[in-house]
């Protein structure tokens, strides 16, 4: 394999703050192995410059390119496109080095050492680039452009409305037989049973009325809504009259709240580790405590909690509640509050702040409601998406977006995650609808590239990769060796890191490539 690297250094960006000696940098780069040509340009993002550097790469027969732009995220996509289309350079052989953010800005007060580090960084990048291999991406057409929305509630209808507005064929799956004006097809009295496939080409099996039907779709929005758990815990078992917050609200509203002290605990199960109150439950707890206190100011209202999470503007509510005279007691779950064995109307709790045991008389005992939707378990299981401890669909990393799940092509919105106000659910529905539209816009699923690959000879079929992968990409194939479903692989490399037989490698981040880079980077001056 011939290896000829073209290094493009953008003068303006690398010198934005005059820290680095670009000419010296270019000279060091030119001396590195495999470097065919070094071009220093002003404004690598200008279209005129792009044509000339691509032309240079063509005449010098470079097959890989190292770009040193302003910052990785600012580099013009048209530069890469020009290299791929006109320069016929594999897209996986174009690397960028972010000297601005890695060297110039954080070390501009020490230009000598910054120069040393920049040269070492460049040498490491060149060594890494020389070790890379060209890769191919594959495309698979989406068989349909259907969007399936699970749940025709506030969020689900909003998502369907937005997606339908962009021309997606939407199918709503609703478990009740409510008649709704829905944008698209509404399958009432139906539920999701199983799902196959991957983002872009899902195949769902749904139960519609009495019969089972298969349904092909490109993208799924989960808007199954939420409910309150009827959770049983140590507290609810020992005190039968304990009620969740939403019941407390009902009895305050209807005026049937018995007179006497009110105690609100943060969870129905203070001994356990599950069923923890969510942030929003604190808003409710504080609001209700204040309503109860305002209704009869002589009543003692006490909030017992492990961790007060009144976030954002609720902090003000917390302060207001304290000013109103509501008492707060913090406990540790090693000594959780218990009902007095002699008097069932007394709660014993160890106050963490005062370090003393308090016995509280109450006539009403309430606990923060824990959200749950029993349907979520089935949906999460069918779609292979994670579920949180309190029964909501767990969303993926915030960097992927607030309405995404870790699984591409599956979005989640509304109270399916945890109960939330209508306006928020509607906004999330809108977001999910737009993201679903964006997902199917190209009409093809792209996969492959820098993904995992198994060397079958080394594989001992120990199932470690199968268990570790969050996307369920590896499986044990017919030959009794692990294989990777390329369509599902996201290229994180967790399987490659964990494989005890070292049978999996992730393209462009192989063990060898990483060692070459480390070695080259540490060889330079410090």
């Amino acid at each position: 394999m011939k290896r000829k690297i073209q290094v493009v250094i953008c003068r303006v960006c690398s010198q934005g703050v005059p820290v680095l000696d670009v000419d010296k940098l270019a000279k060091t780069a030119a001396e590195a192995p495999y470097v065919g040509s070094v071009v220093t340009v002003d404004y690598a993002c200008q279209s005129k410059t792009i044509s000339s550097i691509v032309e240079d790469a063509k005449t010098k027969e470079a097959d890989r390119v190292l770009v040193v732009p302003c910052s990785k995220k600012d580099v013009s996509p048209s530069l890469f496109q020009a290299y791929v289309r006109r320069g016929k350079i594999n897209e996986f052989l174009i690397e960028t080095v972010d000297l601005t953010n890695e060297v110039i800005l954080p070390h501009r007060e020490d230009p000598t050492r910054a120069q040393e580090k920049a040269e070492a960084r460049l040498a490491a990048a060149i060594a890494r680039l020389a070790a890379l291999e060209p890769l191919e991406k594959h495309e698979e057409p989406m068989r349909t452009k259907n969007l399936v929305v699970i749940g025709a509630g506030v969020a689900g209808l909003e998502a369907a409305q937005v997606a339908a507005g962009h021309g997606l064929h939407t199918i709503l799956i609703e478990k009740t037989d409510r008649t709704l004006k829905a944008p698209g097809v509404l399958l009432s009295k139906s539920r999701l049973l199983r799902a196959k496939g991957h983002g872009g080409n899902f195949e769902l099996v749904i139960e519609a009325g009495e019969k089972e039907e298969t349904l092909e779709c490109a993208v799924i929005v989960v808007a199954s809504g939420g409910d309150w758990s009827q959770g049983k815990g140590s507290l609810t078992r020992s005190c039968k009259e304990a009620m969740p917050l939403f019941r407390l609200k009902d009895s305050i509203d209807s005026g049937t709240l018995p007179s006497g002290p009110v105690v609100i605990v943060d969870t129905p199960d203070p001994k356990g580790s599950t069923m923890k109150a969510q942030d929003f439950a604190w808003d409710d707890a504080l609001d209700l405590a204040m309503i109860a206190k305002r209704a009869s100011p002589e009543t003692d209202v006490t909030l017992i909690f492990q961790e007060m999470r009144a976030s954002g503007l609720s902090e003000l509510t917390y302060k207001e509640a304290a000013q109103l005279g509501i008492r707060f007691i913090r406990y540790d779950n090693k000594s959780p509050p218990t009902i007095d064995e002699k008097d069932s109307k007394r709660l014993i709790v160890k106050d963490l702040a005062q370090d003393e045991v308090v016995s509280l008389r109450f006539s009403t005992l309430s606990y923060a409601s824990i959200p749950a939707n029993p349907d979520n378990i089935g949906i999460a299981d069918a779609l292979r998406i994670p579920i949180s401890l309190d029964g909501g669909i767990r969303r993926g990393s915030m960097q992927r977006g607030p309405v995404t799940t870790p699984r591409p092509g599956v979005f989640v919105c509304g109270s399916a995650m945890f109960p939330k106000p209508e306006a928020v659910a509607r906004a999330e529905g809108k977001a999910a609808g737009i993201l679903a539209t964006q997902f199917v816009a190209s009409g093809t699923v792209e996969y492959g590239g820098a993904v995992a690959e198994v060397t079958p000879e080394k594989c001992s079929a120990c199932l470690t990769c199968v268990r570790t992968c969050p996307y369920e990409a590896p499986f044990i194939g017919a030959a009794g060796k692990a294989e990777v479903r390329t369509q599902l692989c996201q290229g994180c490399g967790m399987c490659a890191g964990i494989c005890p037989s070292k049978a999996i490698d992730i393209h462009n981040y192989t063990d060898e490539q990483l060692s070459i880079e480390t070695e080259a980077y540490l060889r330079g001056g410090f």
Binding site: N101, S397, M494, S515, E517, Y521, F526
Partner: protein, 140 residues
Amino acid sequence: MSERRPKIVGFCCEKHGMDCVTLAARSERQYDSSVRLIQVPCTGRVDGIHILEALENGADSVFVLGCLEKNCYYDTGSIEGRKRVEYVKGMLAETGIEPERVEMFNASSSMAWKFHDIVSSMKDVAERLGPIRPGGGDSE
């Protein structure tokens, strides 16, 4: 070269880890230039061998920087990364090398201050322990 400079290597995930580095760079604060960062797709990709090779190539301390555990881009990647780092620490302790030379950190892309803290703590370790003594403890 009057004094010996510490060598610090950081394996950063390309999601929150690298974003944290970028934000730290833009925060107008300077950090020590003896830090060398190597990008990996996810901290779950980091294998013991990569950390050990960095130490072998002369690094005094190595850190691994990944997403927050509950907000990892690849869902469980930074949890896996931490397991790997703990494993390497155990291995180092066995060979007589101070395990605190290797550390795992989590940061989100908005926690710029965290990166400065990481660099200063790893620099402290590198300066306090000095270069790895060949042979380490008493073999044979």
